[in-house]
């Protein structure tokens, strides 16, 4: 059964039913990756283009593996080795890719809204693999899958998201997704990293980490980008680690079965202490495993079967 949607651009445009459907499908497909022969013929003859304008290891590899496990043909383009480097616009690139009749295009782009622009220009399904500070829907879906797997539900859970909310597409998609599924989302971080009006997405804002994580079921830690220091968003990594970094001391008194998540790549010793990243609460690598299953589900639901 195919999705009615042509594209997966953000979590906002997915209904609760649709999200459940994607998570259920991913759970079913997860097993394929544990087989000795990790391949099913479902998407044989389909062509998927992976178009990454921005550097990525995790997301890109995850999408490619997902496509290959479903037997789709994949092509991978990066900005530095493509005509982008020669000054081709996104509109022209899109028209040229479209002319080769791909079935899906996965795009990661520096600019918010770029996947939306692409989706308007091509017949192929477009999957947003991260656009600027806007959205990273497959990450939010794999995070929801991981939490649901561990907790058996999403509704009623308390999710604390810690760090640079302003510059994080992962945070935006997770706020929208978890709120949609009935969880409570609380944000904490320096006020310079909390975007204006974020409460309208349904999240609560607190500035203190310990308060936010006190009775959280899930603690999601966001990556701190060093470049943000130039934008005067925080004074130093040292100060950040002390005041907002997730350390063992700060974890004293948290729920026993709390999950600690991070979308990666992590800055050890900045937003998360190494002992915490590798500690008993951490499900960081399980997130990565589920990432492949979620992306297989997205390809399957967009391209598999009859519409």
């Amino acid at each position: 059964m195919r999705l009615a949607e042509k594209d997966i651009l953000d979590i906002e445009s997915l209904s609760v039913e649709r999200i459940k459907n994607i998570l259920d499908t991913a759970e079913g497909l997860k097993e394929i990756s544990t087989r000795p022969i990790k391949k099913v013929p479902t998407l044989r003859g389909k062509t998927i283009i992976h178009f990454f304008y921005e550097p990525s290891t995790r997301t890109r590899t995850s999408f490619e593996i997902a496509a290959k496990r479903l037997s789709a043909d994949t092509v991978s383009i990066s900005a530095s080795t493509s005509s982008i480097a020669k000054g081709e616009t996104l509109v022209d690139t899109a028209k040229n890719l479209e002319a080769m009749n791909p079935d899906a295009i996965v795009i990661r782009h520096r600019a918010a809204g770029a996947p939306h622009m692409l989706a308007r220009l091509v017949r192929a399904s477009v999957i947003n693999a991260g656009d600027g500070m806007h959205a990273h829907p497959s990450q939010a879906l794999l995070d929801m899958m991981t939490v649901r797997e561990k907790k058996g539900r999403l509704a009623g859970l308390k999710i604390a998201i810690i760090g640079d909310i302003t510059h994080s597409r992962v945070a935006r998609s997770n706020i929208v997704g978890f709120v949609k599924m009935g969880a409570e989302v609380i944000l904490a971080g320096p006020p310079t990293m909390i975007p204006m009006g974020v409460e309208t997405l349904g999240a609560r804002v607190g500035y203190h980490v310990q308060e936010a994580i006190k009775d959280a079921d899930v603690i999601m830690v966001l990556r701190i980008q060093k470049e943000r220091q130039q934008a005067l968003v925080f004074p130093s990594e040292r100060e950040y680690a002390q005041c907002y970094g997730l350390t063992e001391e700060k974890l004293a008194g948290v729920k026993e079965d709390v999950l600690i998540m991070h979308p990666g790549p992590i800055n050890r010793g900045v937003e998360i202490a190494p002992e915490v990243a590798e500690g008993p609460y951490s499900v960081i690598l399980e997130q990565v495993t589920n990432g492949v299953a979620i992306r297989m589900a997205l390809f399957y639901l967009l391209l598999g079967g009859a519409r």
Binding site: A112, P195, T200
Partner: protein, 432 residues
């Protein structure tokens, strides 16, 4: 002798206080008389323009237009920009200096004036640069610019970040009675922002521009206006905070005037949803609250002028990712219709609207002939306030199509534009 008679229209002129069914007799490009229909002389040689059921006003003036020539003729030329103005009901426009080369010297001013004469439609008054090369470092040669014909100076597009330079521009400009038009923006606060900072930017994940980027500069420039006792005109006001400061400055008797544009009283940041680059403009479209404050300020006179900030761009600058797309929208051919919606909504009288679009800019620019008076050149606009139409950029005379108003149903537009007795636009005949 060439005579024409504009017959049967409701003549409204805030300058002279006229408002009634009057005929206007024009000879050799000048207004000869404005009188009751009974007493007006219809002479055999007169050509008659029937204005019954229409409004006849002093020619509209748009004091903030980007004509793009010289340098960016693929976006607009002086000829197409002037034609676009005529079609929008404007008889006079001021063009900003951010061309290539920049209008910071006599030869560029001469070139613009020569091209405008050749176009032969609307009157063009160039605005010179505040700083040489718009670089915000040294003053441009105001004496030379004034002699060549500029009516004001502005670094529009760029803010004057150096307060000392702005102070000197205001002071030095006084010596030539040159108006300084300020593009109020603190670039450090704008940073990498591409739309208004608020709920919508948070939702769309676009870097935001706080409203304080404008408001803090308005505050600074008002302080400098007080210091120098020079005339300051604040361009494209978009925030509630700016309105508050301008209102205070006026109450103190400072020589501050201000303009806003139709997009700031017609749209909000919501228009950016869907990443529509036609809604990308600087200052950015703001919130409901700002829009309402701008409307109120237009009604109560805190904002003196409606200007379009007509900013043509081609698909080369607009068919891009949102953060890469150029700022600006065209406005000459939608400015009057959008402004008339304020009258329709009961927010402002027709008389006051005409003041904001003709008399006030003429006074601020120190133009010699203001209003419909015998002896003045026959610059006038005939408006059909009942005419309904749908905005379709393909019908525009501008070279560019970058408007966020496509498809909008509007009521009221200019149907005839006359400059010095010459019809430069006639909706019925579509001569031009």
């Amino acid at each position: 002798m060439k005579r024409s008679l504009i017959k049967g229209g409701r003549v409204i002129d805030p300058e002279t206080g006229l408002d009634g069914l009057l005929d206007i007799l024009i000879e050799n490009g000048k207004i000869v008389s404005i009188e009751n229909p009974q007493s007006s002389i219809v002479n055999h040689q007169s050509s008659i323009i029937n204005a019954s059921g229409k409004i006849v006003t002093p020619g509209l003036i748009d004091m903030h237009v980007h004509l793009r020539e010289p340098g960016h003729e693929y976006k607009e030329t002086i000829e197409t920009g002037c034609l676009s103005a005529a079609h929008g009901g404007f008889t006079t426009i001021c063009c900003m200096p951010n061309t290539d080369p920049i209008n910071d010297n006599q030869s560029v001013t001469d070139y613009i004036l020569k091209k405008a004469r050749m176009a032969g439609t609307v009157r063009v008054y160039p605005v010179g640069a505040i700083s040489r090369g718009l670089r915000g470092e040294g003053l441009a040669d105001y004496g030379e610019l004034k002699a060549a014909g500029v009516v004001a100076v502005s670094d529009d597009g760029n803010p004057v970040m150096n307060a000392q330079l702005m102070r000197r521009a205001l002071e030095y400009g006084k010596g030539f009675n040159l108006l300084v038009i300020s593009h109020c923006e603190d670039r450090n606060l704008t940073a990498d922002g591409v739309m208004n900072e608020g709920i919508t930017s948070t939702r769309l994940g676009l870097p935001g521009i706080p409203n304080a980027e404008e408001t803090v500069m308005v505050a600074r420039d008002i302080a400098l206006c007080e210091l120098t006792d020079a005339r300051l005109h604040i361009a494209h006001v978009s925030t509630e905070g700016s309105v508050r400061l301008i209102s205070e400055a006026k109450a103190l008797g400072l020589l501050v005037t201000a303009e806003t544009t139709p997009h700031y009283f017609s749209l909000t940041e919501e228009a950016v949803t869907g990443y529509d680059t036609n809604a990308k403009v600087h200052p950015p479209l703001r919130t409901d609250r700002d829009r309402d404050a701008i409307r109120q300020a237009l009604a109560d006179g805190t904002i003196d002028v409606i200007a379009s900030d007509h900013a043509p761009h081609s698909s080369i600058e607009k068919d891009l990712e949102f953060d890469q797309a150029a700022n600006g929208m065209i406005g000459l051919e939608t400015s009057l219709p959008l402004s008339l919606q304020l009258v329709e909504a009961g927010l402002i009288s027709l008389n006051d609207l005409i003041a904001r679009m003709s008399i006030n800019p003429a006074r601020i620019l120190n133009l010699v002939h203001i209003g419909l008076k015998p002896g003045n050149p026959a610059d006038l606009t005939i408006i059909d306030v009942e005419k309904k139409f749908t905005v379709d950029p393909d019908t525009f005379r501008s070279k560019s199509r970058n408007t966020p108003f496509t498809g909008r149903e509007l009521k009221g537009k200019a149907v005839l534009t006359m400059v010095g007795g010459k019809i430069v636009f006639d909706d019925e005949r579509q001569k031009h």
